[in-house]
Symmetry: C2
């Protein structure tokens, strides 16, 4: 998606360790008008797959998932990290490795809010190793829900998460796929 | 706000320990169409205060803050909990006590995205002891920004956070204030 590629070129930064910093518009300070354009693109891509719920992971996926859910007219559900007092009873749980926090983290979703018959569109801001998405997809399967699509704003094409999802047969749409990035240059995969 | 009170009565639950469970529509599974109504109410209340940015705290405040930011046509900024690799350089930081996680947590905001001249509208889903809001207000002050208002969906009126903010002179608008709650009954403060 050219709009997002241009924004990454203009306002993104590459830090040592292949960290793509987009915290001025995507995952810290969030440009809601940009998210609306991204949500529209997800709508065009996934409307025919008739999702019933938008599923994401806290924290940085929530804003994009909320704006996407608004476009679809659907509820948004976010997996929580680790234990919270405020969820009782039956839980779906999936352990992932968090590269941000450098430790294992449990994703949890209350069994009350996801079930058989749900058609899940997974939305996240970032896809690198794919651990967070693996976790929420695992949770959707525990719920006997169907994952009808996965929409991601920025995919790091040089890390394995995206390929794993495509190999597993998921309909993955990444709005910008970064092939290569260093401090002077960001190269996107051709659309 | 009657719409929100009615929804809390209909779909909320009170758990032992005065935990108000609204995770079916506000802070786990999120009813975006409800959030749009809440955002409209914040807009009517705070538009004249001319905010330049909507500030919240991860994770459960983000969806409401995003939809509110959309209504105002403003960017949304969320304070992160604890350390993340993806923020470099200057940070504002405030230590709060998290009742959810039962430990001290640092809230951080990149100094790049908040500064003097900003007029901050703080938005959060919940106000109880007020620790999270104290932290983000502290951060706004570190940035020499002005806090023009605080908008909260649900306030627990029997805990001290709301009164502290009012006593400190902040323009606080809580859309539903719960005076008393037990397993059989939820009583709201008169508007």
């Amino acid at each position: 998606m050219k709009l997002l590629q241009d924004r990454i070129i203009r306002d993104g930064k590459v830090l040592p360790g292949n960290i793509i910093k987009v915290d001025g518009f995507l995952n810290h300070r969030v440009d809601i008008s940009l998210l609306k354009e991204l949500a529209e693109e997800f709508y065009q891509t996934f409307a025919d797959d008739k999702p019933t719920v938008i599923l994401t992971v806290e924290a940085s996926g929530i804003a994009l998932a909320a704006i996407t859910a608004e476009r679809f007219g659907l509820p948004m559900l976010f997996a929580k990290k680790a234990k919270s007092d405020n969820i009782e009873g039956g839980l779906y749980k999936s352990e992932i490795f968090s590269y941000t926090y450098k430790k294992a983290v449990n994703l949890i979703v209350s069994a009350e809010w996801l079930g058989a018959g749900d058609r899940v569109l997974v939305i996240d801001d970032f896809l690198a190793n794919g651990e967070a998405l693996r976790g929420v997809i695992d949770i959707a399967h525990q719920a006997n829900a169907e994952v009808v699509g996965v929409g991601v704003a920025v995919e790091k094409g040089f890390q394995p998460g995206g390929q794993k999802l495509r190999d597993a047969g998921y309909k993955l749409h990444s709005l910008a796929i970064i092939e290569k990035a260093d401090e002077n240059n960001i190269v996107f995969r051709e659309e």
